[in-house]
Symmetry: C2
Subunit: 368 residues, 2 copies
């Protein structure tokens, strides 16, 4: 397995999120990507950086984040540099973030640049598999495809979207890549089980690899107003006009996800490919999801934190995040989720963790 960077390849890392689903550890002002949620000693953003730099070199990563998080990103990624940081005045969804990065990379590096977009707050436990998949994806992207990575589904999750595979792609340097027949939204449990039974469905990990020129050409056709706004901003970005153009164009950018803007319509035209992979991937979407990623003790309880002072009886499948200052005693609550922080304590179960937004919506502002 080679570890040298892929020439002409740049990574784009959208780093946002409301901090809702892993509250009270994640907060609006301190979302998931800024946290070390796996006890590895690196935050999710730093682990994403660590995973990408072997493919891009240190100058090849572009983090797109909100102004509120720019300083935290600089602090966590000192090697990123100002050229590597794109700060958005406000969130305009993923198409604006990735489209601006594509336009900026084309301005800076020319039309042949290939970009890969990877969320800042996912977990990939097999970086070697990830590197191999991205190398194939870059090859398929050079052949003109919008390329995604399809994660082998090992259980019928209702928390992820799915990708239905079509036939093989026939690109020599991407031997395992296939056409994408269609993307499907998060299914119900029965539908998900049906998907797994066919062997043709994979989890959509939200990764896209594509030539900047190809992405922007699709965007020009499908979302011309958004395309025009992003191009104007990108042209001004590395000039003294940035602030003025941003102020004029940004508030008018269409809010739309890259999935709906480009991936789904282009897939319907046969223009999307998928590289299958077993990444040990998870989007760490809620406490149930995190519980699967954390080490489980002899008491059957998953824990986060070196100072894990937990005493659990009859509480298998629980996850406890102590604040380090106090002992947590858990008695007879299987699947409990207990998250202790200095100003807020959450008690729920993995079964109800997906409803956490209902709690956060009712919180006083200073606790969100």
């Amino acid at each position: 397995m080679t570890t040298s960077p892929v020439p002409g390849f740049h990574a784009v890392v959208p780093a946002g999120g409301a901090g809702t689903r892993l509250w009270p550890l994640s907060r609006r002002a301190h979302p998931k990507f800024l946290l070390d949620l796996t006890g590895s000693g690196r935050t999710l953003l730093q682990a994403t950086w660590d995973r990408l730099v072997p493919l891009t070199g240190e100058g090849g990563v572009l983090v797109v984040t909100g102004e509120a998080h720019a300083d935290a990103v600089r602090e966590q990624l000192p090697a990123l540099g100002e050229q590597g940081l794109v700060t958005e005045p406000s969130g305009r969804d993923s198409m604006a973030a990735i489209g601006l990065a594509a336009a900026l990379l084309r301005e800076r590096h020319g039309p042949d640049v290939v970009l890969g977009s990877f969320a800042a707050d996912h977990v990939v436990r097999r970086p070697d598999d990830f590197h191999a998949a991205v190398r194939e994806a870059v090859a398929a992207a050079r052949a003109g495809y919008v390329v995604t990575v399809g994660v082998r589904a090992d259980h019928p999750s209702t928390a992820f979207g799915y990708i239905e595979e079509g036939g093989p792609l026939d690109v020599a340097a991407a031997p395992t890549a296939r056409h994408v027949a269609r993307f499907v939204e998060k299914p119900d449990a029965e539908t998900a089980a049906g998907y797994l039974a066919t062997g043709r469905y994979r989890w959509n990990a939200g990764m896209f690899v594509v030539r900047a020129e190809v992405l922007l050409t699709h965007l020009e056709r499908l979302q011309p107003a958004l395309h025009a706004g992003l191009l104007a901003i990108a042209r001004a970005w590395d000039t003294p006009d940035r602030a003025a153009v941003l102020a004029r164009e940004w508030p008018r950018l269409t809010r739309i996800a890259i999935d709906h803007a480009v991936a789904e319509p282009v897939a319907a035209d046969g223009g999307v490919a998928v590289v299958p992979a077993e990444l040990g991937w998870d989007d760490v979407g809620d406490w149930r999801s995190l519980a699967r990623l954390l080490p489980v003790g002899a008491d059957g309880v998953a824990g986060l934190g070196a100072e894990n002072r937990t005493l659990a009886l009859g509480s298998e499948g629980a996850v406890v995040v102590p604040d380090g200052a106090r002992l947590v005693a858990l008695l007879g609550v299987p699947g409990a989720v207990v998250v202790d922080t200095p100003d807020a304590l959450l008690v729920t179960t993995t079964e109800h963790a997906q409803r956490l937004k209902d709690v956060v919506d009712r919180l006083p502002d200073e606790l969100r």
Copy 2:
């Protein structure tokens, strides 16, 4: 209802307990009776005092407690005075505590004194009913009976012992009193339901009213060694010999509960009477029991503390004791018990609260 003290009546308040069943609020060093568990502004000990003083006057209450708790008792009951405080070198169970109090009261006030023993850590929500019941009990005690108060059972509790009533007592000043046929230990649920169906069973609230002379005569016959030791200590108590006699006699006192030492054998001989009452009584034996006593909010959650910052969804029947510093969010855990203190957090359910001892047994010493 008269509120003047009952002549010749003294109250004995055994104040002990391991602090296990309401951990982490109660601790070995700070047991239940020292806590305000109902949000009334008075601790259970203070509320017991408030309830007894109308019957005894301020000079008529004797608190029996361990040396470790003597200062806390003095602080909470400034009107108690040193004559009202009996400190035990170590816990020797309830017969030693109440027997010593009886012997001491007879030394100080003569053989006709009547004593009533009432736990320091129970709740009585109808003090007027309590006063009326104790007045009848004193009348029956003057007729020579060991008298207990039988609480009307409003559900088939498996957490309390029961008293089976016999025929009426025929003491004019105790018109509702009856003979006790027998005491029975905590039953299983089916047995408890059977008891309730007969209409003859009442909860044993552990209250005993008896002439000191009668109690000591029973004790002399049934537990002669214990009787002799207690008498030696009582004779020396108000003299300079107290410490020397205590050091010699105390470690040899038989450890036995008053129920087994006197109440049960004397009941078998027809010497025990019961005064029925509806006291709004509870022994606050565990978190499930306390949950029934606390005010319940619109969210169906019982809470303790003026600063009750709890946000609960789908958690009916839960009880939350916040520490005041942080918000507690509870999602989808009906019957949860969440008790937040500066050094320990308990998460369990009312269903499992009775197993709390299993947790406390495993705790590091400084958290017990």
